[in-house]
Symmetry: C2
């Protein structure tokens, strides 16, 4: 069996943890498997390097920043190979250039294009554990690139896809995917299985266990993902196409507090107004999420939408610049909102799920600002202060603790 | 003009020094020159990385150690490019793989085979300062290698040779090559010029300004070297083929205390004994330096030789194993010895230089243990305690302070 195992920065933060991870991988190796290990930089090393850079240049170029950051994973893979060697198992570390991980040229946010598997296959054939730098790639100029936040998950899934691995295990500091964040919902339950689509929605909606690009990639190539804890031996959660167990209506509840609602009030009701507004936001690189349009007074319309909270200032600036062109009367902004979502592949064939959620929130006296739905998801925008109450109520109402 | 400038670890140890080096290089750039900068790892970073490795594996494999160590220079070149950028000058950092610096496969002690110059030329043509990692290379397996101690000097000279640079400046913490170590000989004088051969002998004999491999390479390709201080604007010492000034008989005095003398006493006087002995030492990877053979008693012979002091234990072990096979009566070892050498291209055509040195030592009441000479060098082995006295006496006797 060929297994890809990915460990994040906290799992390799110091000598003892590195030895632990080494032992864990060696167990798989000694059971006769081919083992590929993908590592992030040690602990907070990436942040340390960014601080070093900013001390010299407050606004370092992305090309040179990637050149600097890629030293982080190269350090952790080399140390891991030494750890395995001292434990008596042959291992070899490879960075993005050695593998070769070909990416697009976008420094800081590159996308994988193609992975050469020859070197890895050769090393596996000589019965070595292969340790690969996560998060990094090489572009057509032979320059190092990085894949953006959570990029090591993507590296692991891409390797699993390219090498037709039997399993891709993502080790993290939680022991699987839960029906809701256990810090908020005490009765949250770990799921044994979840579909790619459900996981994608949960990832996008703020359940930060896996990076959504890695889930997309796993779905595209049918890579079986397992989310497990690096701290214990729990079985974790399997992410795959078809889930065997009887589908629950709803499989999980997620909340996202990184939200601002902006309302543009009194727009002229003529064609092209919405386009101009969202075009201005797109040009400022702002992702718009939920959108609600309503009829205002005097033949005008109001448009409300949500954006990531850390982009509030940029969005307001972009809109103020266009305010006159849009003929808008007012721009309102509320930062104390949050999204709560339910996700479940079972929803598709079961009408009434959304209604049940709204009823539950009404019974808990929680006001709904905006609603957005997809085939397997219902999202409501509520006051941030109500998030905990809402999640617990919804979690109980759909019987997720059982 | 194309200039290669090499700065060691102390010159880039922190933010302020990095900014200083950046400004210094920018001055050359703004004068219209093409500038290539070769850097070592910051401060003691290489030692820090070795310590990290040894904490995990007391005897780390050389392949993985090189994978780890090469992150050191990659960090310093990326930060330097950011420093130049913040000062408004376009710069690009390149590591051994990006350049490409092809080396032999010997991890930890590789030799440069070939340098691709296309990428560097391209970056220079677009008027960027090119910052290259010293000390490192890539072998035929696409693995990183390192060039051994002082390897960054070699990188700089090799780049200067491959690109036909007009000048290769080695910046260090002394401001040039002296007639003797100024810490020992107070009247030591900085030389304006010195030949490759003299520099080679001085480097080999313990004047640690330049690595001898870099001098060999400079001689082979006729690269004009300049040794300068990174701390001041002094002109430094030029190392080249022909020196214009009237040749002094002797240009410098050097001492080396990393010496042990070993004597193998009462060897059977039959063919092959010396071969067997030095073969045993060669197999133990021990460099033998001065050798003296003398007739012993009863048709036996004695052989004395010097080795680096840190190899004493290894050498004694290798000899003890062969003692019976060699029929040796005794093996003696003295670690409190040192080599003092005079070097000078003028010696070749001037007999009597060695005699003058011996006379001077005799007048100072210093006993000579062994003697070794070449066309431009005389080396004597004396008691370690006499080194300071000997150097000052010889320095004065040859009038080197003028």
């Amino acid at each position: 069996m060929l297994v890809v195992k990915k460990f994040g920065g906290t799992s390799v933060a110091d000598k003892d943890r590195i030895m632990n991870v080494a032992r864990r991988c060696i167990r798989d190796y000694q059971a006769g498997n081919d083992v590929i290990v993908v590592l992030s930089a040690m602990g907070k090393q990436t942040d340390v390097l960014i601080d070093m850079a900013k001390e010299i240049n407050p606004n370092p170029g992305r090309r040179e920043l990637d050149m600097l950051l890629t030293t982080g994973e190269q350090t952790s893979v080399a140390l891991m190979a030494m750890a395995m060697d001292v434990l008596g198992v042959p291992a070899v570390s490879l960075n993005a250039y050695q593998v070769a991980m070909h990416t697009t040229s976008a420094y800081g946010n590159a996308r994988l294009k193609r992975i050469d598997t020859e070197r890895i296959r050769h090393e596996l054939d000589s019965r070595k554990i292969v340790i690969v730098t996560g998060f990094q790639g090489v572009n057509k100029y032979d320059d190092y690139t990085t894949l953006g936040r959570g990029g090591s998950d993507t590296t692991a899934v891409a390797l699993a896809a390219a090498l037709h691995a039997d399993k891709c295990e993502i080790y993290t500091d939680v022991d699987g995917v839960y029906t809701a964040d256990p810090r908020i919902v005490k009765k949250a339950r770990k799921m044994k299985e979840i579909t790619y689509d459900e996981m994608l929605d949960l990832a996008t909606l703020g359940a930060g266990v896996l990076h959504n690009r890695s889930v997309e990639l796993a779905k595209k190539y049918g890579v079986q993902l397992v989310v497990r804890s690096s701290l214990n031996e729990e079985e974790g959660t399997v992410v795959k196409e078809d889930v065997k167990v009887e589908r629950m209506l709803v499989s999980g509840v997620a909340a996202d507090k990184n939200v601002t609602r902006i309302s543009v009030v009194g727009l002229q009701d003529k064609p092209g107004m919405a386009f101009r507004m969202f075009d201005a936001l797109a040009k400022a690189n702002i992702n718009v999420d939920m959108i609600l349009q309503s009829i205002g007074r005097d033949n005008t319309k109001d448009i409300s939408f949500t954006i990531p909270r850390d982009m509030t200032d940029d969005a307001l600036k972009a809109l103020e610049d266009k305010k006159d062109a849009l003929g808008a009367q007012d721009i309102k902004c509320k930062t104390t909102v949050a999204k709560v979502s339910i996700v479940g592949a079972g929803m598709m064939s079961n009408p009434g799920v959304a209604a049940k959620m709204f009823e539950c929130l009404y019974n808990s006296n929680i006001n709904i600002n905006m609603i957005s739905t997809s085939e397997i998801r219902v999202t409501v925008l509520i006051d941030e202060a109500d998030v905990e109450k809402a999640m617990n109520a919804v979690h109980e109402s759909f019987g997720l603790e059982d």
